[in-house]
């Protein structure tokens, strides 16, 4: 459990409290009630005085300047009128306050103050918000509770936040990724939740070394209306798809219990987890919304203009998922007392029961004639609670008859299972270490656990996103998407440029793109959202195969079986030379996609890191690292292949001054079968060959691993080749930028391909100080 505040050991005396109480005991002829009231007040005052000692202040100050210049050979005529440049300039101060009125209780808050640079005259540009708030406490060293924001992880199949792994990721890029993740308080694989978390851990001698009993209760979603066209709170703004809007008509809760026992000096482990995620159907709220169908049909009656409908018409049926997990493990090296060796095995088996419906949308509307009101209305029908009229259609475009009966909704319980077995073997001595991490998983296609599967990375377009226009929401399929942009960039308060510039309301209305309003929003691919089944389907259809190909939802990814292995070798003391290799072979357990065949996934990679200065005996670092990974998905005759190269140098020529440089190159190819069967949102013409590479060099002044000042310059280049056997139409080009759609001269009829090239030049200056 991590609340980010509570120290392991508290050191505080209670001398003052005792002294004050003792002085009051001297007088015994008390007036009970008043005395008690006063005692309470005095006690509180003493505690409050004590709290001055218990105040802890920490935080992060972050200042970013980034300038990104977009160029494309295909847009020499500037058909795209949006700015070629995007400037991010902001300062952010996360002030962490921890108030500890006495040693075992604490109240914590993070107050985030943010300002864009050079907007001091715009009051709204400066914001103060509360992204983190909780109270927590402990009883001795065995019981810890927290209510409010918290992070927790149990196991990869139960409670987990899947991350993206990049072997020997260059420091110059990784720092940006860390900052982007920190925006949403992501740490490791811990899931961020809001609710109550309890943790009990105690030991009972060697035979039963430790017993853990943990439990949590959280509300995952509250009833609330969200604008479906906005960027905030929607996966895909303005899409009529289940899961596109995260607006909830019902409260969604989750509760979990986790029990673990560690026996024989913690060398043997047994554990079990029970979880439930459910919608509270009794909280289903309908709201007064604009009746799109009626308005579109030219309806003018003001009383019918708005109708009571579900807050989210694509999420009206209560979901319920229960998950049970059992696991066991043994540290064989520990049991056999093998010094220098690591050898442990563990396995987890999880089951889920998920309630699913044959119809995602149902709403019963009954229309009852109010006979009295009708008579008073001269015989023109007046309906009681006139919620809907026969001329109306719902969001899904279904026209209603006079009385709409419930759609025949049936549900069934879909049962899924997942198995994860792990082996860790290693040997370490002073000048050599080796460790092998291998896992085998077998997760069937019905397996569903949103608390373990919801990924923390949902690739979004970040820099120069105005250029993409309406397709920006399709992220990975957006024309100007690059993996680097999604992984490393973020903008906490981005204001889109209206496509029709002007500052009156009409321009503001006309200048909106369909997917994003002109309101500012936070651009970031990193998220803490826990998704429902439909949302997860959307997110999974928009994963980036370059970094999320085989296990987009971590070890809990559904419909996978196979093995993953990772070998790390360290040479010399403190491993100045380190090498890694990875291999994975996975396949789907049942066929998916347009092909319907089972896909199989293979990944191979290797990398090394050498600290040259350490080898030469210097105290300052000079790390050279590099890695290569190739990954492949084959399905039917289709093949998607990616190659990912990382190269990095990080050196400090003084105690704090250093130079960093990084290079990344990703290639992705799809053969004709894979391209022809590519499905997904926003795919018009399939990409068959995507090349993207970036380099960046910079100077930095480093205080600690979390505090630095850096100035970097770099460039991202992209060359995407699209191919289609179909005839060319504007619709089929939807994932190409507007300047190609407006002027598709690049199209060569003989090859049926379009090559699109663009580049970004980046200047970044960052200050990040954690204290």
């Amino acid at each position: 459990m991590n609340t980010g505040f509570f120290p392991k050991v508290s050191s505080r005396g209670i001398g003052m409290t005792r002294l004050v109480i003792a002085s009051l005991v001297l007088a015994t002829w008390a007036q009970a009630a008043e005395v008690q009231d006063n005692e309470a007040s005095i006690q509180q005052k003493v505690d409050s005085l004590d709290s001055k000692r218990g105040l802890e202040v920490g935080g992060t100050i972050r200042s970013v300047f980034a300038h990104s210049l977009f160029t494309s050979k295909q847009d020499v005529n500037s058909l795209n009128v949006t700015p070629d440049q995007e400037r991010e300039e902001f300062t952010q101060f996360d002030l962490k306050l921890g108030f500890r009125p006495f040693s075992d209780t604490r109240a914590n808050a993070v107050i985030r103050m943010a300002a864009s640079m050079q907007t001091y005259f715009e009051n709204a540009a400066k914001t103060v918000s509360v992204p983190w708030l909780n109270v927590e406490g402990k009883k001795g060293q065995v019981f810890h509770w927290v209510a409010g924001d918290f992070r927790e992880e149990y196991t990869p199949l139960t409670l987990w936040s899947p991350n993206v792994d990049i072997m020997y990721e260059p420091t110059i890029f990784k720092r940006n990724r860390d900052m982007a993740r920190d925006q949403v308080f992501l740490q490791g694989n811990q899931r961020t939740l809001e609710g109550i978390n309890l943790q009990y851990r105690d030991g009972f001698g060697e035979a039963l070394s430790e017993v853990r009993a943990e439990g949590l209760f959280t509300r995952l979603r509250r009833v609330g209306f969200l604008d479906a066209s906005g960027a905030t709170g929607n996966l895909l703004p303005n899409e009529s798809l289940a899961g596109a809007s995260q607006s909830a008509g019902m409260n969604k809760y989750a509760a979990a219990a986790n029990e673990e026992a560690f026996a024989f000096k913690k060398n043997v482990m047994f554990g079990a987890t029970q979880m439930a995620i459910w919608d509270d159907a009794s909280s289903l709220v309908r709201g007064l919304t604009l009746n799109q169908g009626y308005v579109a049909a030219g309806g003018t009656d003001a009383t019918l203009m708005h109708t009571y409908g579900p807050l989210n018409p694509f999420d009206t049926l209560p979901q319920h998922t229960s998950i049970f997990s059992f696991r066991a493990g043994a540290d064989i090296a520990g049991l056999a007392d093998m010094k220098g060796w690591t050898l442990n095995v563990s396995a987890e088996y999880a089951l889920d029961n998920d309630k699913i419906y044959n119809n995602s949308y149902t709403q019963v509307y009954t229309r009852v004639v109010d006979s009295l009101a009708t008579a008073l209305n001269g015989g023109v029908a007046v309906y009681k609670n006139s919620e809907i009229d026969s001329v109306l259609t719902d969001y899904a475009g279904v026209a209603y008859d006079t009385v709409r009966n419930a759609l025949p909704v049936t549900n069934k319980i879909l049962k899924g299972s997942a198995l994860l077995a792990q082996l860790e073997a290693g040997y370490k001595q002073s000048s050599f270490s080796a460790s092998l991490n291998a896992k085998y998983l077998m997760n069937d296609s019905a397996w569903f656990n949103s608390l373990a599967q919801s990924p923390s990375f949902f690739p979004r377009r970040i820099l120069n996103s105005d250029k993409d226009g309406n397709t920006v929401k399709y992220g990975v399929n957006s024309p100007l998407y690059t993996t680097f942009d999604a992984l490393y960039e973020f903008d906490p308060k981005f204001s889109p440029v209206a496509t029709d510039l002007g500052n009156d309301d009409n321009h503001m209305k006309l200048g909106q793109t369909n997917s994003y309003n002109i309101a500012p929003y936070s651009k970031n691919s990193w998220t803490t959202a826990t998704l429902n089944r439909k949302e997860l389907e959307i997110v999974n259809s928009l994963t980036d195969p370059r970094v999320q190909l085989s296990l987009p939802n971590g070890s809990a990814t559904a419909n996978r079986t196979g093995a993953v292995g990772n070998l790390t070798i360290g040479i010399l003391e403190d491993s100045p030379i380190e090498m890694q290799g990875l291999f994975s072979s996975l396949s789907e357990m049942s066929g998916t996609g347009l092909v319907g065949a089972k896909a199989s996934f293979t990944e191979m990679g290797a990398g090394a890191k050498v600290d040259v200065f350490k080898l030469a005996g210097f105290s300052l670092p000079c790390e050279l690292s590099g890695s290569y990974k190739t990954a492949k998905r084959t399905q039917g005759g289709g093949e998607l292949k990616t190659d990912f190269i990382n190269a990095s140098i990080y050196t400090r020529f003084q105690k704090r001054f250093g130079i960093t440089a990084g290079y990344q190159n990703i290639g992705m190819t799809l053969n004709t079968v894979a391209a022809a069967t590519a499905d997904g949102l926003g795919v018009g013409i399939p990409l068959v060959d995507g090349k993207q590479w970036q380099w960046m060099v910079g100077l930095d002044y480093t205080l600690s691993s979390n505090s630095w000042f850096a100035i970097n310059y770099g460039m991202t280049n992209v060359k995407n080749t699209y191919h289609s056997t179909d005839s060319l139409t504007a619709a089929s080009l939807e994932n190409l930028p507007d300047y190609i759609i407006k002027n598709p001269k690049e199209w060569t009829a003989t090859t049926n391909t379009i090559v699109h090239e663009f580049s970004l030049r980046l200047i970044e200056a960052t200050i990040n100080v954690a204290f």
């Binding site: 003052m16 007036q31 009125p101 509360v130 939740l193 509250r222 409260n251 003018t300 803490t528």
Partner: protein, 733 residues
């Protein structure tokens, strides 16, 4: 870095302990003369001084995380109506205190609120900044000043907040009521919540004079919207200001004083913005002059174990209503423009200046006249308090009030509790007969008096045009959301704090007070405290405490309208018993209960009866079990009666009967009326005291609200039951 923090902490602690050691000896020295309570008060005040004497900045506040689930599963709910509503939240009321000098402090209070779980939807979750004040002492500690937010009281007829008195209110109820009040920055003092400046000079001993006081208070009570497109909830047609002063002298146990208070609209603030054609605007100007006297026997018999006293106040009020209207007035306007003209030589290079006259209509604001009401009020009281050895403590007070119908004192009258709001389960839709007055009558009562008094819903939600009160621009009736000028608010990037709460912190005007529709179960006899106009009568309040373990409260009041027929009788009694103390056991066992009934003869003929009971049992260490129960019935008499014109219906066909000649439905007048509500609220649950002021509480509650009403001449009864589950952990720091 942490180590150094702790080191400095220990050093501070040492200094603190040192100061406390001195204080402790002072307490022991005083013990011979003063009661323990006085010593405690003194210690508390010194602790506060210590806490406040550190220069620099300090933090304090309350943090809580909790859950409130309200489930409404009975009653005439419409099909598909949600039956449950849940609040799940973390909240921190963070106080920041800065002390530039040893005798002054600036206090800023921030409210941080997060609802679980909206991180995916969250734009900017704002921090609410709800209190800013700078308070302190100056001029050798003789001048006390408050700038910014403040609570100031002069006297019951001039500047005062009348409190709700509930006899022996059990613990859960009291806490919840205070919390609901706190959301509106209200507390249990009689100070009037205002924003402005207050200066209070107290000379101290000057020869034979014990104290000479002079006080002045300035406040802005209301703020009119200054921009046409930005109007928020607490808007008004005009800025309203308050200028107040009082002087007083204390000598030989006696007190003489005079006060002046006022609340007036700044008419120009409205006229500057313009008044629409045919729009009538009323402006109020209210001032009160009051003379006070008092005497008690404390200085005459300083060693006596009783104090007797007498006091009184005579106030004269003036209330003026100025009526203005926008009148469309024709006006001739002249415009001068330049044009070419044909010159004598036939050229067109000559210039002419031409006057164009036109008649247009413009809105002029006319002052239609003033009407003035002058009123008086007299409040007298006698009291006695003291103790008979250790056996009985007593405090008895008799008040006499005579106020005329025209008496008006805005700053003293505005009530704290108004009620009538939909608090819990407001999304639930009741299935009532549509189109009749009874619908709105019942809807106004669906949340009940107890729910209004004890519950608040507080949320941080995305700001949309629906929760922003927009003056112009038609958001609701528009054919498309994009057509409104507020579309830019129709996004989730910004959030706002919103709440549903039954309390009032605004200084209300005469017109607003008259139409308030106050809850008859709260201070029916004196809804506006002792400043209630049109009353004559007495009340008697007696509080007795036996052997510090048994408390007895007795109340009797009889007031009648000075002009009018209504007569109010209020009788109440409360009993609190510290059983553990009586039985001499160390654990906690408290029992409390009260019964109070108020009735109105003639007039509306209303009646209200309240019964409360509470038990607190200490189980083990900090764990106690608490049970609270309250039953409230309200009979409204003729307060809420309405008439509807309805068609006569043929019962066999359920169709209207038509007039054979006109072929139109035959109509009849039907009565709709709200007759009675009967409410109960039961709360039980454990409480674990983590430390003083920091608790974990779980509550199971059952709330029932039975409403009897008449609709179309027929009596109906509906019963709304709610199951309430609350769990929260609260940490004071």
């Amino acid at each position: 870095m942490k180590q150094s923090l702790y080191q400095s902490s220990y050093k501070d602690a040492y200094n603190m302990v040192f100061k406390l050691a001195i204080l402790t000896s002072a307490v022991v020295a005083m013990a011979a003369q003063d009661s323990l309570v006085q010593k405690q008060d003194s210690l508390l005040s010194k602790l506060t001084q210590i806490a406040n004497s550190n220069s620099g900045v300090s933090f304090g506040g309350i943090a809580s995380s909790g859950y409130l689930g309200s489930s409404e599963k009975s009653g005439p709910l419409k099909a598909g109506s949600p039956t449950s509503e849940t609040q799940a939240f973390s909240e921190m009321d963070l106080g920041l205190m800065a002390r530039p000098t040893a005798d002054s402090r600036a206090i800023f209070k921030l409210r941080l609120h997060q609802d679980w779980q909206t991180t995916y939807a969250q734009g900017v979750n704002p921090v609410l900044f709800h209190w800013a004040s700078y308070d302190g002492l100056s001029m050798g500690k003789t001048l006390k000043f408050n700038i910014g937010d403040m609570r100031v009281a002069y006297s019951p007829l001039t500047m005062w907040t009348p409190q709700v008195e509930l006899l022996q209110e059990p613990e859960f109820f009291k806490e919840m009521r205070l919390k609901s009040m706190d959301y509106r920055n209200l507390d249990t003092s009689n100070g009037r919540l205002m924003e402005g400046a207050n200066m209070d000079y107290n000379s101290g001993m000057l020869g034979f004079i014990d104290n000479l006081q002079a006080q002045g208070t300035l406040a802005r009570l209301r703020n009119s919207a200054k921009k046409a497109d930005e109007v928020f909830f607490d808007y008004d047609r005009a800025d309203e200001y308050s200028v107040n002063a009082r002087v007083g002298v204390d000598a030989a146990g006696g007190h003489l004083g005079a006060s002046y208070t006022s609340a007036f609209d700044r008419i120009r603030s409205t006229l500057e913005l313009g008044v629409n054609d045919q729009d009538t605007v009323n402006f109020n100007d209210n001032s009160v002059i009051s003379l006070q006297f008092g005497y008690n026997t404390k200085s005459l018999f300083p060693s006596a174990d009783y104090v007797l006293g007498i006091g009184g106040e005579y106030a004269m009020s003036k209330w003026t209503n100025s009526k203005y209207a926008g009148v469309l007035t024709p006006k001739v306007v002249q415009t001068l423009y330049q044009d070419e003209r044909v010159a004598a030589d036939g050229g067109t290079d000559s210039t002419a200046y031409i006057v164009n006259k036109a008649t247009i209509s413009e809105v002029d604001v006319h002052h239609l006249g003033d009407s003035t009401l002058n009123g008086t009020s007299l409040l007298l009281n006698v009291f006695g308090k003291g103790n008979v050895g250790e056996l009985v403590d007593y405090n008895v007070k008799l008040n006499y009030l005579k106020s005329d119908k025209k008496f008006q004192s805005d700053l003293a009258m505005s009530p704290l509790f108004v009620g009538g709001q939909n608090i819990l389960n407001s999304d639930a839709t009741l299935n009532l007969q549509s189109g009749l007055r009874s619908t709105s009558l019942v809807n106004n009562m669906r949340s009940g008096s107890l729910e209004n008094m004890y519950y608040t819903v507080y949320q941080s939600v995305p700001l949309t045009q629906q929760n922003l009160f927009a003056k112009s621009g038609n958001a609701v009736g528009a054919t498309s959301a994009t057509e409104t000028e507020y579309y830019r608010l129709y996004n989730n990037y910004q959030m706002v704090h919103t709440y549903r709460n039954g309390y009032n912190n605004v200084v209300l005007k005469r017109g607003e007070l008259e139409t308030l529709g106050l809850d008859p179960s709260v201070s029916m006899a004196l809804p506006f405290g002792y400043a209630t106009p049109n009353r004559s009568g007495v009340d008697l309040k007696a509080d007795l405490k036996f052997i510090q373990a048994v408390e007895l409260n007795l109340r009797y009041a009889t007031f009648s309208e000075d002009s009018g027929a209504s007569k109010f009788t209020d009788v109440g009694a409360g009993l609190g018993v510290n059983v553990a103390k009586l039985a001499n056991i160390s654990s906690t066992l408290n029992l409390s209960g009260s019964y109070q009934t108020t009735s109105e003869s003639n007039g509306f003929g209303r009646k209200s009866t309240r019964l409360m009971a509470g038990i607190e049992v200490g189980i083990w260490k900090g764990l106690s079990l608490i049970g609270n129960y309250q039953a409230l019935s309200r009979e409204f008499g003729t307060m809420y009666v309405g008439y509807d014109t309805l068609p006569v219906v043929n019962p066999s066909t359920n169709l209207p009967v038509l007039d054979p000649t006109t072929n139109l439905p035959i109509t009849t007048i039907s009565i709709s009326s709200l007759t009675k509500t009967s409410e109960t609220l039961l709360l039980v649950g454990p409480r674990i005291k983590i430390t003083e002021g920091s608790t974990f509480t779980a509550q199971y509650g059952l709330m029932s609200n039975k409403i009897n009403y008449i609709s179309a001449n027929l009596p109906y009864e509906i019963k709304l039951d709610k199951t309430l589950i609350t769990a929260d952990v609260t940490v004071n720091f």
